[in-house]
Symmetry: C2
Subunit: 253 residues, 2 copies
DNA sequence: CGGTCCGTTGACGGGAATCAAGGAAGGTGG
DNA sequence: CCACCTTCCTTGATTCCCGTCAACGGACCG
């Protein structure tokens, strides 16, 4: 897993709250410099985890939220039957652990897919801050709501019955998020396995493998193990909506 | 849509915040009687909508959260292609509109499936209250997080590749929620159409129709139009996990 | 009473799951 | 450094579930 991906990006490791994904949730609320310092000092608590490590497990008591500083995580839920479902992949700047707010216990497990650096935000500390900083609470609500919307768009993706559409949407979404990180949007390095992708999309691994091959044959992608080169973003975009032909009305009521 | 379902339940219409689903989010935080009165008076704003009416539409500016007092809603999201995806059905005591917190605009539309009474909680008013009532903010976070977890379980449902499992899970979940409303858990009256159910589960109508017939043949249900009688809850439970046989490992990484 | 939408059923075909096998990569221990 | 093993990924053959197309009865509504 610690293969050909770029060596540790020091500049990324040094990013403080100022450059963090969480910041957008503070600044618009009119947080001043002093308040930002306070926030920054609260999240100093960082840790680095190796591939395969667990940030938290389903059922663990809740005591902190986490922000990915570098690397990638996946969140997985396991139901009574032992069947697993991948809920999401989390890139730098994205938050993890929000589902634990509901019942004071994590509803999913977070596993590290490649060496990652994580910011830990102890919730007790966060509560103190929200009491002092007006607007931070509102921003916190915004974050959680945003996570819910992300989950909804996952539902929309799985609502497509063509597996190819699902994979196309997944790749496009990943590309967009890479763009937000100022990475090359046409050169994706997938930290997750084909199994993870398949499970995330609700198909089997063979289907994902075949679809990669098909997309390669169509000249949309070039696939080489973990590296996906998007040759035709336009075609990829077309494949996201109704696999090439008529619209699926999706009539309801 | 306003067919054989029970006539308007007056006792239900009279329920105040005390008996409302939202209350559980206030009480544990140690809200006292006076505070409860204040909260109650803020949500006095109720409205009744007829079947087919829209509570809000995708894109509408956010200004309130809503709680279903009686009746049923569905939330639907429409993507760029015009394809629709049903995100959920909302029974009395359940909250709607939380997805608008993220971007100050509703990300989905809420349609009324049968005559419904809705409590409106103007967000401006809610913000005032949260400033005054300690703990209410925490409870609000809890609500939103809970909605996210609900969305996650929808993902888990759609992750099952057997359509029968999905329908079984849907029915069991609906039965459980009926139980929470002190309704008969074996006698479901479905306010939503087969199209809605199909779309919600990511299958086509014909599949839902056939599955109802099959489940009836298996002696699990009795189906009569909108009325579903669960004859064998135990069998229904079995059908939720791995359609009858081996476990689907769902291995991932 | 005609129109429209809803729900069911049948026939058919396609797309994806299943079963099976083999190669490539990565990690470990000798 | 190589042998060995495990895991990952791919490809092929086959099966079958479910989506598609089509037709029809029933409910609801103007």
């Amino acid at each position: 897993m610690t293969q050909a991906s770029a060596p540790i990006d020091l500049s990324q490791l040094r990013r403080s709250c100022r450059a963090c994904g969480l910041l957008e949730l503070c600044l618009p609320a009119g947080i001043d410099q002093a308040e930002l310092e306070r926030l920054d000092s609260s999240v100093r608590d960082k840790r680095t985890l190796e591939s395969g490590g667990m940030l938290f497990r389903q059922g663990d008591p809740f005591h902190a939220l986490y922000v990915v500083r570098s690397g990638t995580l996946k969140t997985v839920v396991q139901d009574a039957d032992g069947a697993q479902q991948v809920l999401g992949f989390h890139l730098p700047g994205e938050i993890v652990g929000v589902d634990a707010l509901a019942h004071d216990a994590h509803q999913s497990s977070a596993e590290v897919l490649e060496r990652s650096s994580i910011c830990e935000l102890p919730y007790s500390r966060l509560e103190e801050l929200t009491a002092q900083i007006p607007g931070l609470q509102r921003q916190l609500l915004r974050i959680v709501s945003r996570e819910m919307v992300a989950e909804q768009s996952h539902v929309v993706t799985m609502g497509r019955q063509q597996a190819q559409e699902r994979l196309a949407i997944f790749l496009r979404s990943l590309s967009e998020r890479y763009g937000r990180l100022a990475r090359d949007t046409t050169h994706l390095i997938l930290p997750m396995s084909r199994y993870d992708i398949a499970n995330y999309l609700g198909v089997v691994v063979e289907t994902v493998s075949r679809l990669f091959t098909r997309m390669e044959d169509l000249g949309v992608l070039r696939v080489s193990r973990k590296v996906i080169h998007i040759l035709r973003p336009d075609l990829l975009g077309e494949m996201c909506g109704a696999g090439g032909a008529r619209e699926r009305a999706g009539r309801a009521s």
